[in-house]
Symmetry: C2
Subunit: 467 residues, 2 copies
């Protein structure tokens, strides 16, 4: 079996692929808005037909009580790895409609860009994945690996029933690894492989300074104010430059490796533009580039803080209680519990005499994830990207965990390779979302090669290397 | 004319006075709750009858669109000062009812205490004021000064229509000074005269660090967080002991005088109990007693602070905007505008490079008020309290302006002497509110003497001395 014949076949049929993508994009599959319920149902029907048409078996909806996922399998390669191919068929709402140059559900090509809601996120890359499987079956009558296509319908709403789907259909979804059509390229010029994400730990801090709210006329100047105390604690978490000022937390962070430094530097990245694009103010740990800080160093952020009177006008109170929601983004190797404990100890030490400090859990922590360089997913992607780009792929990491991959890792033990072909400039979630048309052909070369490469590994290899 | 005969008359008729107070207290005049509308109307009818019955003229309701005030005058002393006698007929809600040992609207005397909602706040002292006027008219056929009784119906709801009442009935309410039955004694053993209150200035602070809320996974560790920046600014307002750390604001505060120190020390005051009673933590400017800090020194309090995600669970955002409502309690002599400007300059200097700071006004400032020791109100009260207590009265100040007196000062130019007879332990606004029964006789001695003393001054003297 050869990927080349499949690639040739797909290149010859490029127009057919574009026509199917066009049909897919015309379906208004907005998952968050009940007004689009018919669009969602139509999209599922379209996918069920498509998957049956290309010869998948067991094609069905996987219902977890929300928007069902669409599933189809080809399991004719005994002994070869079984790969879940992930995509999603739901899209963001198209509002504000007035800002679209062409209607969001009427795909339009201008200047090499295919404009439509969902073109980049992620019907374009999902189509590449499905067409790849279809081409193997059409040309070879089989795939190099066992395939379980899993097309989710709730990615844009935070996957509320994904846990339940995995619980109900756990047996059906058993696999050795996942390849995601979501999670695209980091650069148009440098081939990248995502090898991990920062971890996360969360807590809610409660500061109490009195038994009740006090009148500032009767007590102002004589007692502690919960907001002043919370402010002092929060201010103690960072130094003036914005670097974390919690030594016990930073002591546990491993230094960057040579490869970390090299990979991070390899990707073209305009630091000034990155910050200016969101009207931000650069700040953080000296001695590290922004990309290093974002992906290889921890960050503490107060995500919310409140206390006292927050309505219109004024109310002259001394608040007795104030709260802050705090999260730590964890660097590779950091233990969520150790990091959380270090933060708590720092806060307790920073609180002034008499100030009562409490902590409330707001969800469990998760460590940073890392795919080792030797992992079959990384090895296979490296081989493919070397061949398609003529360059050595760069390892990149994300600053935040992708919820979908975290859920599959946690519940099924599956590692994920993100292999989408969207690019960072495609106005995802905004008006005039588009997909670079050449990305379709690029993806249709790379995906067949990837499936072929993955067949070189024993199923157990994917689990032994799990990071 | 002699106050002695009037005092004698009132002491002889003590039971009659108590009977009228009992009738007044049985009327459930809860202003905040529409369920008590009939009780409010009945109370107004009761007062109108009462004031007519004692011989006042022009008895009427003054309607400003909310709960009307009850008004009645005696203006038969041409050339003598005209005094507004202030009280209020509305009371706090009695909830929680289950905690009352006797029903809140069934006045009950136990152990020398008259238990009822409103007994202390302020039907007891209001009755003393009305009975004093009634006794002068009954015994002497006239009063030493011209009297305008003004019994408010909205004190417990923040006097929402008082401004409008004063606007509509400004001519009717013209006077030389006000004596308030509200605002009681500071101590059961030391006679006190309230000679002032701290001022107030307010602002809302807005801190912006980006053009939009950012994802903490994508930006955490690389940009400023509005909550961190607000916390740093708020933390810079006070030192570790809780003293104000804004030199330009403190430089403008005048040092305490010998008399300030002496008067503040003269009043028995248990600092530890004051703080412990509300479960607070003592803090503030070293070198000053708590009473000095509360009444003669400024205080900065953040009354409310908020930003980012404040709902349940977590949302991993970097807030781009954060806000704080800040008030300054002003010491005597401080200019509200200067203090506000000093605070703003400090905040602007404390904000880190690039952080956008804005200020929004939330109401105008008012300076501290002070009645000079030579003011006729203070002189008359001093004479009376010396005579009734055999002690030299101590000058006290309040930490906060009383809204009613501020409104009358601001709109009518009237200074107020607070001459209520309630005491600090009477569980005002709480279940089992009571009035010490001996306070009735004490008030009925002092009030006639006070009116007699005030007659010694020319009307213009009250205005010349206005502080």
């Amino acid at each position: 079996m050869s990927a080349e014949s499949v690639v040739d076949y797909l290149q010859r049929r490029h127009d057919d692929v574009m026509a199917r993508l066009d049909a897919f994009l015309r379906l208004p599959s907005v998952s968050t808005d009940p007004a689009y319920a018919q669009g969602m149902a139509d999209t599922r029907a379209f996918l069920l037909d498509w998957l049956k048409g290309i010869g998948l078996t067991d094609v069905q909806l996987l219902d977890g009580g929300g928007q069902p996922a669409v599933y189809g399998a080809w399991l004719g390669a005994p002994g070869a790895p079984t790969i879940i191919v992930y995509g999603h068929y739901d899209v963001q709402p198209p509002d504000p409609l007035a800002l679209w140059q062409s209607p969001p559900f009427e795909p339009t090509i201008r200047d090499g860009r295919l404009y439509a809601r969902g073109a980049s996120d992620v019907k374009g890359s999902t189509t590449i994945a499905i067409e790849t499987v279809a081409a193997f079956l059409a040309v070879e009558g089989r795939c190099p690996v066992n395939i379980k296509l899993f097309i989710e319908g709730e990615e844009e709403t935070g996957s509320p029933s994904l846990h339940e789907i995995v619980r109900r259909y756990g047996d059906l979804l058993k696999a050795d690894a996942m390849i995601s059509a979501d999670g695209g390229r980091a650069s148009p010029t440098v081939p990248t492989i995502n090898v991990g994400a920062r971890g996360l730990t969360k807590l809610e801090l409660v500061v109490r300074t009195a038994g009740k709210e006090l009148h500032s006329g009767r007590y102002g100047g004589s007692v502690r104010n919960a907001l002043h105390e919370l402010a002092a604690i929060v201010a103690s978490l960072h130094d003036a430059e914005g670097a974390i000022a919690v030594p016990a937390l930073m002591d546990a962070v491993r230094p960057l490796s040579e490869r970390d430094r090299r990979d991070t530097a390899a990707l073209p990245f305009d630091e000034a533009a990155f910050v200016a694009d969101v009207g931000g103010i650069a700040a953080g740990e000296p001695g590290y580039s922004i990309r290093e800080r974002l992906t290889l160093r921890p960050a503490i952020d107060v995500n919310g803080m409140w206390g006292g009177y927050t309505g219109t006008g004024s109310k002259t109170v001394i608040p007795d209680e104030a709260r802050a929601k705090i999260t730590i983004r964890l660097a590779p190797g950091q233990d969520p519990d150790q990091a959380g404990a270090a933060l708590k100890e720092h806060i307790l030490a920073a609180a002034r005499l008499g100030v009562k400090v409490g902590f409330e859990a707001i969800g469990g922590g998760s460590p940073a994830s890392t795919l080792a360089a030797e992992h079959p997913l990384v090895q296979a992607a490296t081989t493919v990207l070397r061949r398609t780009s003529g360059q050595e792929p760069v390892h990149v990491r994300l600053g935040a965990t992708v919820p979908i991959t975290a859920i599959f890792k946690e519940t099924m033990g599956l590692d994920t390779l993100m292999f989408g072909f969207n690019l960072p400039d495609e106005d995802v979630h905004a008006p005039n979302e588009f997909f670079h048309v050449p990305s379709v052909a690029l993806g249709l070369r790379a995906w067949p090669m990837l499936l072929q490469e993955l067949a070189r590994y024993a199923p157990a290899a994917f689990h032994q290397q799990a990071g």
